[in-house]
């Protein structure tokens, strides 16, 4: 059957089982929007800015594990989407982003709303396509979904010129994709896995360090089983939280720049490091020259280029985390002596000593001023760790990571790699649409929330009852913290004057607004907001203006050189 390009587009999305398209219409995509109008299977979510549309698709993808889909027009539609695409790229999130393009005869002529979308997005996508012939459209869309979701996931852009959406071609959706140049390795090398297990069994001071790969690779179950089987201490990166139950005694908390004392010192002193789906990011390693000086490193990752990129490893294993970990469990189960028990007991004694300093302590007796940590601790208690928590970027993000103990994967949704302010609210919309009956909380600050504040309107249109926790200290807190610690208290442009009245703002968008100023009101306000199951509630917490995030590894320092409270 012959279909237009636009009809083909819709049919392909249906074949892929797409539930939501997050987007914003414009000239170049009018045919696509017309085809969307004439069907009912796919729901379109109209964002208020293309950045918001892509972040929402991203939030949907992170919460569900299914690819997020966004649709934007040419020119400014595409450029506005770039921040969202780059955010997904840094955190390996599967997205397929469709950008409209001017008609093929006009490409390169500086036509109205023309940009070289493929060129602009090239460095921040896993792959991208320009479809010049409607006969290739279905095939290209199939490839886009395949590439986005396999191997190390990532965003794929498909740029479709307007004339391609109008032309007709025979519709055929391929069942399978063959890309001779793309064959991700899925199964780890058996000999390397054996070597890794031997190293683990003989370790005296082991640490398991896992990242976002465990989440995106759906390996949390295997990781939990392996860790418990061994009784090894485990730490997660910012992206890896939820990969292992956050309230488990084997869990040392997050590591890295604002990680716990025990996690960072365990890393620094370990003799065998088992890295899974993590990429030795600079916020984790600190000074690479001082990183894990005594350790032999095992590294499991689906992306070979992540291995030995920043830190040389002894046992590289390329493969899907869930499969490799399952192999390890299998080998360990049949082994008589799994670990070096005596050494491990000594190691735990040492770790518990580090733990006892309670590095996340904060002044609980403070009266008259709300401590941001207190808000998050209460949020954790009241939601029993079951909420989906999205965040923006800055101090609030670190406190959320430290104080909300994520027990399950895909509940913690934040821009860890690119550090995109403005991510939290649209990502929460995506997560809430995916899970309409779950509690979705957006932890943000008065700086970040204003970067995509327009999405409050989207939230109204689609009735997503998100709970926004605005930790409002009147500063770009993380910038202020660095200026205090490293720039002689010169608070250059980090103080936010003329803040809006967030309560009225929320109300103007048709939501519920609350302002909380006293510590004793925190719990009550949270309870009240969480009880409003069908309303978005914007909670503006006026918090301690000078609170800093600790512990902290200053830039360039080693993991053992932490600043404590």
């Amino acid at each position: 059957m012959e279909l237009t390009g636009a009809e083909t587009f819709v049919r392909c999305l249906i074949e892929e089982g797409v539930e939501y398209v997050f987007g914003y219409p414009g000239g170049a995509v009018l045919n696509l929007y017309d085809a969307l109008y004439q069907q009912e299977q796919i729901k379109h979510i109209l964002a208020r800015h293309e950045q918001g549309a892509v972040h929402a698709a991203d939030g949907y993808a992170r919460a569900t594990g299914r690819p997020g889909v966004a649709l934007v027009t040419s020119g400014p539609g595409a450029t506005n989407a770039v921040t969202g695409i780059a955010t997904a790229h840094m955190d390996s999130v599967p997205l397929v982003v469709f950008t409209g393009q001017v008609p093929t005869p006009l490409i390169g002529n500086d036509a109205f709303q023309e940009v070289d979308a493929v060129g602009i997005t090239r460095p921040c996508v896993k792959h991208n396509f320009l479809v010049k012939d409607v006969a290739n459209l279905a095939d290209t869309i199939k490839k886009a979904f395949y590439v986005a979701t396999t191997g190390r996931p990532g965003p794929v852009v498909v740029d479709i010129p307007k004339d391609v959406t109008a032309k007709r071609a025979e519709f055929h959706y391929p069942k399978k994709v063959h890309l001779r140049s793309y064959n991700p390795v899925t199964k780890g090398h058996p000999l390397q896995i054996k070597r890794a297990v031997e190293l683990m069994s003989s370790a005296e001071r082991p640490v398991i360090y896992t990242g976002g790969g465990v989440i995106s690779g759906n390996a949390a179950l295997q990781l939990t089983e392996l860790t418990r089987l061994l009784g090894f201490p485990i730490t997660n990166t910012l992206m890896g939280l939820g990969g292992y139950p956050g309230n488990d005694p084997l869990f040392l908390g997050m590591l890295g720049m604002h990680g716990t004392y025990e996690a960072n010192l365990a890393m620094h002193n370990c003799d065998v490091l088992i890295a899974v789906g993590a990429r030795f990011d600079d916020r984790v390693t600190g000074n690479v020259a001082k990183f894990c000086p005594k350790a032999q490193i095992i590294h499991v990752d689906v992306d070979p280029s992540s291995i030995s990129k920043n830190v040389k490893v002894s046992v590289p294993i390329v493969g899907y985390c869930d499969q490799v970990l399952a192999e390890m469990i299998h080998l360990l189960r049949v082994q008589e002596k799994r670990t070096n028990g005596e050494a491990l007991a000594r190691w735990w004694a040492q770790i518990n000593e580090w733990r006892s300093i309670d590095c996340l302590k904060f002044d609980r007796s403070a009266s008259g001023v709300i401590k941001p940590q207190h808000v998050l601790e209460k949020l954790y208690q009241l939601t029993e760790g079951n909420a989906f928590v999205t965040s923006d970027v800055g101090q609030h993000q670190m406190w959320a990571a430290q104080f909300y103990k994520f027990d399950k994967p895909r509940r913690w949704i934040n821009s860890g790699g690119l550090g995109t302010m403005g991510f939290g609210l649209p990502a929460a919309i995506g997560a809430q649409l995916a899970f309409p009956n779950e509690t979705v909380v957006c932890v943000t600050g008065e700086g970040s929330i204003q970067m995509c504040i327009q999405e409050l309107s989207t939230a109204k249109q689609y009735s997503t009852p998100i709970k926004i926790i605005n930790l409002n200290n009147g500063y770009l807190g993380m910038v202020r913290q660095w200026q205090e610690l490293f720039y002689g208290n010169r608070y250059s442009q980090s103080y936010l004057e003329s803040l809006p009245d967030f309560v009225k703002l929320a109300e103007a968008y048709g939501h519920v607004g609350m302002q909380i100023t006293k510590p004793q009101d925190v719990e009550g306000a949270l309870r009240e907001a969480l009880a409003m199951k069908d309303r978005l509630v914007f909670m503006d917490f006026l918090t301690d203006k000078t609170e800093n995030v600790y512990p902290m590894i200053p830039s360039g320092a080693g993991q053992n050189e932490m600043i404590l409270v």
Binding site: V118, G119, R122, R180, S181, P304, S305
Partner: protein
Amino acid sequence: MRHIISLLLENEAGALSRVAGLFSARGYNIESLTVAPTEDGTLSRLTLVTRGSDDIVEQITKQLNKLIDVVKLMDLSSGPHIEREIMLVKIRATGAARDEVSRLSEIFRGHIVDVTAGSFIVELTGNGKKLDAFLDSLERGSIVEVVRSGVSGMARGEKSLGV
């Protein structure tokens, strides 16, 4: 260390810019780069010369392999290989210098492919060092123009880069 990396690339618009963009984005250097279609019309062969420590070159090959348009890759410098480059040199020469240029060209097994009253164009093939040596042997100031193709290469013996 200097490495010669040879790739088979999908012969598609934009494939070359993915390779070039990778090098600029990650701060790797490219000494030379040459690309042309192969006997299989769907594939291009690209040869690039880069410098870097073993760690960096390992990253370069991994990152290149990660590009969807890269079908196969080989670091030629990891084994015995042939390396060739073609060069055209336009040389200003009058009087006695004309004999000198013609003799030098013979010594280096070059060909004179264009002659005018005041100039020659010499075509020369070989590895980079040979071409450098030819340029060094010419009289200073006599070189009007030089164009080099950049390095192409192949592994010796049974080893081959194919799909």
